[in-house]
Symmetry: C2
Subunit: 342 residues, 2 copies
């Protein structure tokens, strides 16, 4: 209720009959403190319920022990899992994690970054909504360590942890080709989101190699469920309709499945479906989608590790780009070979 003054290091110092700096040493386990004094201080801390003020600490030491994860959509299980990876790694290292949602909007991204700069976060893990150019410039100008997560950026100076979307999509495309598909509808996110662009490119590479590029079509929407439904409906209305659909992420796939259900189109009997990103077992009763799965948790952990290396100064000079592999998991939605399958 009352805005009681919180106990300060001074109060503890007086109680333990030492100087404030000695209390500081006990709290931080730094420097030499005699056993007797240490115990006296610890007792005083207990008795007074002293809680160090990290604002003052950060102001003086220029270290907040806080990192931020700026991502596009925490409701997507892929990012939720990544966030857990970041949190666990941060927690292990005694760092606190801040999460910010940009809803894929560059403007929200910048707004959050300005907040984080004010908070003096020690580092930022950024999943850029778009090119990230402006954001990375801002972070660099202010001297904040940054690791880009999940997506490619033009910037030649930042550490990056991501998956090989092009390759994963290529492999999914190859799978479709090997099953005999030549008319494929690619359902992608907006242009400028590197993962989406790379997945389109990878899938189209496989189809082009099979001489099927002309009979395929790319649809563009958002990386969300209703957009997936929309694109699936458009794709299936073409004539001749595609024999397979490629979804650039999990939400698009789910939306597409719903739309096809509505239209009475069966998967995989009438149309095959493959997608990027798996869903965790906690959310799926009957795994059904054939997917390129990304190691989201590992991505998060790895990014924190890169950041910590920089914070400790144990990182190499140059920029590091860590590209983790995707895993193709074949399930029912890709169906059996159709006429002409290998």
């Amino acid at each position: 209720m009352c805005a009681k003054r919180r106990t300060t290091i001074q109060d503890v110092a007086i109680r333990a009959q030492v100087a404030p700096i000695t209390v500081s040493r006990v709290v931080n386990n730094s420097g030499y403190v005699g056993q007797a004094v240490r115990e006296r201080v610890q007792a005083a801390i207990q008795e007074l319920g002293y809680v160090p003020n990290s604002l003052a600490r950060g102001l003086r030491s220029r270290r907040t022990n806080t990192i931020a994860l700026v991502l596009t959509d925490i409701t997507n299980p892929f990012f939720t899992t990544m966030a857990r990876g970041v949190e666990d790694a941060a927690s292990d290292a005694g760092l606190m994690m801040l999460v910010c949602n940009t809803d894929e909007r560059e403007e929200k991204e910048l707004s959050y970054l300005r907040m984080l700069l004010q908070k003096r976060a020690d580092g930022v893990l950024l999943v850029p909504a778009r090119s990230g150019a402006q954001s990375l410039r801002l972070l660099r100008d202010q001297g904040v360590l940054t690791v880009v997560l999940d997506r490619r950026v033009a910037d030649a100076d930042t550490d990056v942890v991501r998956c090989d979307s092009e390759r994963g999509a290529y492999e999914l495309g190859r799978l479709l080709v090997s099953l005999g598909h030549r008319r494929v509808a690619v359902m992608a996110g907006p242009t400028g989101v590197s993962t989406s662009d790379d997945r389109v490119a990878g899938c189209m590479r496989a189809l082009t190699e099979a001489g099927a590029a002309d009979s395929c079509r790319v649809y563009r929407g958002e990386l969300v469920q209703y957009s997936g439904a929309d694109m699936a409906k458009k794709a299936l209305a073409a004539s001749p309709p595609p024999t397979a659909l490629f979804a650039a992420n999990n939400f698009i796939a789910i939306g597409a499945l719903g739309a096809m259900h509505e239209l009475g189109v069966r998967v995989p009997e009438d149309v095959a479906l493959v997608a990027f990103d798996d869903l965790p077992p906690s959310l799926v009763t009957f795994p059904f989608l054939t997917v390129a799965a990304q190691p989201a948790y590992e991505m998060g952990r790895t990014a924190v590790q890169l950041l910590i290396d920089r914070l400790n100064g144990t990182a190499p000079k140059g920029r590091r780009e860590i590209i983790l592999p995707t895993e193709i998991i074949v399930r029912r939605s890709s169906g059996d070979p159709i006429n002409g399958g290998d």
Copy 2:
């Protein structure tokens, strides 16, 4: 790279030929500042790329404009949705949100709270892992405003926003009874989690009213998928087996569904299933579960509103408990009436 000194209010003041306090007034839009001076200051801010230091600001003003959401499992869509509600409301009010995951462990909860006290969060929204008694005492001792979310607490002094789990569960139980079910297996979380306890109580009330309590059994596990699978297997191994299952949350239901699939038990033909918590459309292609849905997003928003009222001193004296209704959504998993149904 280099640990450049960041631009301070001093630097801006010198550049604009004013006193630091004037810069402060411009930045915070507080007090009177002449038009000419204001423009000069703004120009200086731009030119120098000044970013206010919220550590210093918070240290001096005793306000961090930060609130924390401490919850048990961000991978659960129910909490993810709630978190979005909190974030949106916080963002509207110019507050930053911190999220902390306790994994349903009281020890992690306390550890995070201590961190938050150090960070001088202005308020805490707490989903207590267990009784929350120790946590609430800590928060009160340190004078941090608190709202308890989602769960009941014995504490007679804190604002609470939650759903009526007992009633929702009662209604689900009534539904089962009306469909003719008398042998129901209740799959719950650990004792001491109020939501789980209330749901067991509500469901059992309906069954008791129907004189069916003796033929029902309560299983206890964790609020996670594999535990749901486990409990479902145990329940179905009983003889005679239950005709219906009640899952205390969404993850338990998903695990139970998977287990039944494995066992070749069909839902709802062989066993009916009802559950607490709905899943968002972005994650479910074919909504199938009959559920008691909670307004997670609204819960988050409401909790922030209560907190803000307290921060502004516009809240009434006493404790407020806001209990939002659940909505019963009947889908396929509850099945048709069986012999003896109404």
